[in-house]
Symmetry: C2
Subunit: 289 residues, 2 copies
């Protein structure tokens, strides 16, 4: 059973009652009235590796990833709950708290569990936010334009360089320190018809919007903004930009131009995602059991 | 560094601004306006053991434990976010979802992470609730009476029996299926001056209220209600009732009688917790790094 099957099963099992102001499983954050809520788990050996990153980098990176769920809904952040389990020394806990606090978001509470044997650290981050008008994945309309908020592919390229032992590159910095686009989120939220953050990869997110909105999305590869230097790491930078995850840039559709938005394509009636006229495969990372 | 030091450090590091309607680290749930929010991590091998319990029991038990944080504030529950990581088969995931859904609370969202090697399952539960007037730990006043919502010690006695291989006892059932006292929470919340749920043990919770409220609490051992059968497992049932955790009963102080409340003592000026006139030691479980 893979991640999508688990989500589908959970959706089926937990139909959310309570009218249109409560939106459950399946968007970046849950919506309860004007409140937004999202939780993410980060598992050592799956999402991060203490050989690659210091604990402050891990803390900062995980924090930005969960904050990005609120950005994806066009929201602003009220605060975080932080839980962690596993074996961590006192210095490591301090560094982790440093990293989390660098996001300058109030930490409202949390839970800590020591021990757990030889097992790695699990970090559970929950973010509370709010939006007067949360932007879902399902609002894209034929005629809208598709925008991304920044250059892509740098995160994947940075990871590749780090795997090769390189540290002295802006690409590595891009991998270690992606930033949630909360600077743009509420601006984009006013005009966007559908929005998502790029956490699994551009191609996967395009499929989410197209599927949930029941529209066809057409993208032009020449318009996809590529992070500087990706071409030095990958022969096919477009492919890298399509599959690079945890970019935390916003992807949105809108009937009007979005502040600092880079236009990459358009929304039409129909279904599917097409790149230069060819059906685009879903890529990106799927957790599998 | 133990759990309390981590919490103290986090409190210091993340002072919550924003006035009296935002209450951060240190109560059962964080308070943001009228919203309540709490997160708990459950780690295989620390909080549960798949040899002892089926996955539906684990799901149900963990759900009740996190719901109890909202009960402790006198709130009602809006919904849950559920995250889990680790190696689980498809049948096990189904059972876990069964257990969670038995609480009949909307699941608003979550996160799932497969793999993580040989490591156990980590379950991260976050609950969103609300209360017009959240009851904190710090409001107890000299002259208040101390109440508990039910008989204690059964959870610890049940765990003991289960360790000895016994299954056919109401005590074991009590250990496997404690219930959050959401049935009483909003009634108690109207009149209680301070409230907490019994998750670490009565004695530990009494110290929390006495410390945060800067009062002295005096308890009479003959008044502590003991779960039926505890005396067949422990020579000293009072000791068991004082240290038994995850009871999920409410402990509150109030100037007026509380519905179904069992009076166990009184609040005076001063400090500390006294049992039959003797200083009570803090017991209960503390996670340690």
């Amino acid at each position: 059973m893979d991640e999508w099957e688990v989500i589908a099963r959970a959706r089926e099992r937990f139909p959310v009652r309570g009218g249109s102001r409560v939106i459950g499983i399946g968007d970046d954050a849950a919506v309860v009235g004007e409140r937004l809520l999202s939780t993410e788990l980060f598992v050592e050996g799956v999402h991060f590796d203490r050989g690659w990153m210091n604990w402050d980098t891990i803390g900062r990176r995980c924090t930005e990833i969960v904050l990005s769920d609120i950005a994806a809904m066009g929201g602003t952040v009220d605060g975080l709950l932080v839980g962690f389990s596993g074996t961590l020394g006192s210095d490591e806990i301090n560094l982790l708290l440093d990293g989390i606090s660098s996001a300058e978001v109030p930490v409202l509470g949390g839970d800590t569990v020591g021990g757990g044997g030889e097992c790695g650290v699990v970090l559970a981050m929950t973010v509370l936010g709010n939006a007067k008008r949360p932007v879902l994945r399902k609002g894209a309309q034929a005629g809208d334009v598709v925008y991304v908020s920044g250059a892509l592919g740098g995160v994947l390229a940075g990871q590749k360089l780090l795997e090769r032992g390189r540290r002295d590159s802006p690409l590595v910095e891009r991998f270690l320190a992606p930033r949630a686009r909360l600077d743009l989120a509420s601006f984009w939220g006013r005009s966007a018809s559908a929005m998502i953050d790029i956490s699994d990869g551009l191609s996967s997110e395009l499929w989410h919007i197209a599927g949930d909105s029941r529209v066809r999305i057409e993208i032009e590869s020449v318009r996809i903004p590529i992070f500087e230097g990706v071409e030095t790491v990958f022969e096919n930078p477009i492919e890298a930009a399509l599959s690079s995850g945890e970019e935390l840039e916003l992807l949105a559709t809108a009937p009007v131009p979005l502040l600092e938005g880079k236009e990459i394509g358009c929304v039409k009636e129909g279904e599917g995602v097409f790149l230069d006229g060819t059906l685009l495969r879903r890529s990106g990372f799927t957790h599998r059991w």
